[in-house]
């Protein structure tokens, strides 16, 4: 699946996107763990970031499937 980073998180990780392979079933929390282990800079992300799957806010216990777009979002500041 594809993992995307935005704003300050993209700066911390040094990239905006990464491909992640996970054995299924898996949750968003598993994606966070894997990303924090494997990507340099990603250890600086919070352990429980705000997350989205396929353009929708989700909780960290939400399941992920092959082909999903998972995103880690800094606290939102729109408006």
């Amino acid at each position: 699946m594809t993992v995307r980073f935005f704003a300050r998180y993209a700066e911390l990780v040094g990239r905006e996107e990464a491909a992640v392979l996970l054995s299924l079933p898996a949750t968003v929390a598993d994606v966070v763990r894997r990303v924090r282990e494997e990507l340099p800079g990603a250890r600086q992300l919070p352990e429980r970031p705000l997350a989205a799957v396929n353009l929708k806010h989700v909780k960290l216990d939400a399941g992920v499937r092959d082909g999903d777009e998972v995103a880690f979002l800094p606290p939102v500041a729109g408006g």
Partner: protein, 159 residues
């Protein structure tokens, strides 16, 4: 970009015209403007960035929710991205409705949901040339290299 996000200055009059209808007697407009007040002196502009596709989808959901809650309401909205100078609006929301209570309530609902849910981020551009990410309250986030400084229980949770 889609219907709601734009890199151009917001034409408030055109947005009001877009929401207008002969049976709507009350129109409430909210403008969020880049400010340089006592809490953030030295701000020249804000650079807005977004998770574009999700922000468009989220705005569609927010406007859809508002239309369901206030069935008579007509809503138009524009959120600007990119460089927005002090004094210029970054967001404009127009809610027109048969009666004013609905217009005020729908408009307020939309801005509150935007603040809560919209994947958009702000970087302050200071007059001295420095840049700093600001959190939802408009205060600088902790410097890069530290986690957010928020405990997990502070993070908004979404269904």
């Amino acid at each position: 970009m889609g219907e709601y996000l734009s890199r151009e200055p917001i034409a408030v009059d055109a947005l009001i015209a877009q929401a207008a209808a002969p049976d709507c007697g009350g129109t409430c407009v909210f403008l969020g403007t880049v400010r340089n007040g006592p809490e953030e002196s030295g701000v020249a502009a804000i650079e807005y960035s977004a998770y574009d596709d999700m922000a468009e989808a989220e705005l569609q959901r927010i406007v859809g929710d508002a239309r369901e809650r206030w069935p008579g309401a007509r809503i138009a909205l524009r959120h600007r991205l990119g460089h927005v100078a002090v004094g210029e609006p970054s967001i404009a929301i127009v809610a027109a409705a048969p009666h004013r209570a609905q217009a005020f309530e729908a408009c307020r609902y939309v801005i509150e949901e935007v603040k809560r849910r919209l994947p958009v981020w702000k970087k302050e551009i200071r007059r001295d040339g420095s840049e700093v990410w600001v959190d939802p309250s408009g205060r600088p986030t902790v410097p890069p290299g530290l986690p957010d400084g928020r405990r997990p229980s502070d993070l908004p949770t979404h269904a």
